[in-house]
Amino acid sequence: MRDLLFHGACSAIILTLTACGGGNSGSTILVGEFASLTGKEATFGISSHEGTQLAIEELNAAGGVLGKKFELKTEDDQSKAGEPANVVNKLISKDGVVAILGEVASSRSLEAAPIAQQNKIPMISPASTNPKVTETGDYIFRVCFIDPFQGTVMANFATKTLKAKKVAVFTDVKSDYSKGLAKFFKEGFTKAGGTIAGELDFNGGDKDFKAQLTAIKSAAPDAVFVPGYYTDVALICIQAKQLGLNVPLFGGDGWESETLLNIGKDAVEGHYFSTHYAADAASPKVTAFVAAYKKRYNGKVPDAMAALGYDSAMFLADGIKRAGSTDGDKIREALAATTDFDAVTGKMRINEHRDAVKSAVILQVKGGAFKYLETVSP
């Protein structure tokens, strides 16, 4: 089944290349990618994969690096726990990739990271924001900001822009991402003088949230922080609206997906979330990326995961170029020494924890689309 999915997801060019079974001794640099191409967070995986694929194609069109072209080998982890370990093991031991790109979800990156670390294969997560991911070891990097920063950004946003004094927090206890973000938000918000009006939990995949939302409503908060993923968030917004909980809901980058709008419809209108970049921002780098992406994927507007997927591949290529080698140790050193990398999602540097230091943007759902509201620098 995985093979079938893989065939469907990858372009014919890559397929042909893979069928030849490159390895690294030959004329190509084999890069492994794992993503949630199907399953609960499928739109994240598909977006990041499309971004990565576009980057690899652009790099190859420009002649590749070190005189070699890139070859991308993609595996689907079906948004399931347990699968990332399987597919990353396979990519490293069977296919012999020089580096791993993936995943969006922190829980799944955390599963794969120890394997990459053990095998001394650099791994770059495009969008896992939980701090624990890069704490696994010195071969693990990311091109996105981390949850302490995102949590603080949202805490400042709640106090300054929303002028909220009391905020309720509604956490997905099944996800490391959600729990981490909730923790850092609470710390930041109480430090800024706010009160947490209530702390309620749900399990990702639940369909009925009315019990918790009724409790939240009776606590009368000024706003509700919901650091969840888009499928759950859409249902939460619908049921909050039904219960007459008419305060702003806001969350993190887990919200960003077309599915949020498709399911949530008018119930998600007016709510806010922080993310990595805005497709409607006026920067030449973003404009060029959006145009290339639209051309490649039938007019589809790239979301943050697509931009980060693109950045992760570009960042790796930059590292390999500076290392002058495809040796795991050398790539690792080059990546760790990055001080100024111009990514689509903004200028970034890599700090001592191998996390990207860069700015965040806040988007609002307006008229059935995501609209740019403000940029927050670290």
């Binding site: 609960k40 009315k210 009776s218 039904q242 599915t259």
Partner: protein
């Protein structure tokens, strides 16, 4: 007080869905003495049938409308009744005279088969799909409480279906035959009851119930995916056991109780993480004192 009443409404609405699903479990058990684990997947198929039928119906009847919704529900119900009978014919009938455990394991197999086949992208795909709004929905505001029309509908339909089922089982010829099969298959066959027909009918009816439950569930939470039946299915199974498996009013009572317990446990700040733990701990306590369930009759097993 307002908080309490609102949670009561939330709990009843959730419990009614569980009750509706539990009715299907308990009816099949009543006749065949085995748990049809594929019931929760027929529920999912019901929601997906409606999802795929809706655009076609929308061309003829405007949506959301009561008439349009009724037609869609009817078609989905028929599709699922057919699927239910097919499952019985293909998977359970060949095992009719085998030990009950064999059939039970097969039921789990059928359930997994449906779930994972449907997750394949050439079937439904694993991503969540937005369920269309079939019915005009409003929220009623009464004394500071909010009752959604969908929730009222669920309670109403569950009550009607419970009565209708009770009527079918107790007052019709088909129902008499079902009860006869449930008592003793061989004796019923000797009395001229067509066993295969009765069992087929039972599965058809059970699956039709599942389809209705699936659509109502999807109206409540309009994001559907192939695994959507697993959680409510498990809860409904527990509800059926709690009420006394094989007992129709028991299933409804068990469903309501479970819905209320979950809602009240889930509505406590700081404790909502443990909502299933609290609900299930109470259920275990109840079953310790009434092992046959709330309305079930204790039977002596002949060895």
């Amino acid at each position: 007080m307002e908080w309490f009443l609102q949670q009561l409404i939330n709990g009843l609405a959730l419990g009614s869905i569980y009750a509706l699903i539990a009715l299907g479990y308990t009816m099949v058990y009543g006749v065949l003495r085995f748990i049809n684990f594929a019931h929760s997947d027929v529920l999912m198929l019901g929601a997906f049938s409606a999802y795929y039928v809706a655009p076609a119906i929308e061309k003829v009847l405007p949506l959301p409308s009561v008439l349009g919704a009724l037609v869609i529900i009817l078609i989905s119900t028929l599709i699922c009744a057919g699927i239910g009978m097919l499952i019985e014919f293909l998977a359970y009938r060949p095992l009719r005279n085998r030990p009950k455990l064999t059939v039970l394991i097969t039921a789990i197999g059928v359930s997994l088969f449906i779930e994972f086949t449907c997750q394949h992208k050439s079937v439904f795909g694993a991503d969540t799909k937005p369920f269309p709004q079939l019915l005009p929905a409003t929220d009623f505001h009464v004394l500071g409480l909010i009752i959604s029309s969908n929730d009222l509908l669920v309670v109403f339909i569950t009550a009607i279906l419970l009565t209708a089922l009770w009527f079918i089982v107790q007052r019709t010829k088909m129902g008499t035959a079902m009860r006869a099969v449930s008592f003793n298959q061989q004796a019923a066959a000797l009395m001229g009851v067509n066993i295969n027909k009765i069992i087929s009918f039972t599965f058809g009816l059970g699956s039709a119930l599942a389809a209705i439950a699936g659509i109502l569930y999807a109206l409540k939470a309009p994001g559907i995916e192939p695994l959507m039946g697993v959680q409510p299915g498990l809860r409904a199974f527990v509800a059926a056991v709690l009420g006394g498996i094989g007992n129709l009013p028991g299933a409804a009572l068990g469903g309501l109780l479970l819905g209320l317990l979950e809602t009240f446990a889930g509505g406590i700040s700081g404790l909502s993480n443990y909502r299933d733990g609290i609900a299930f701990a109470i259920l275990i306590l109840i079953l310790l004192f009434k092992p046959a369930g709330l309305l079930g009759k204790a039977t002596i097993e002949k060895v």
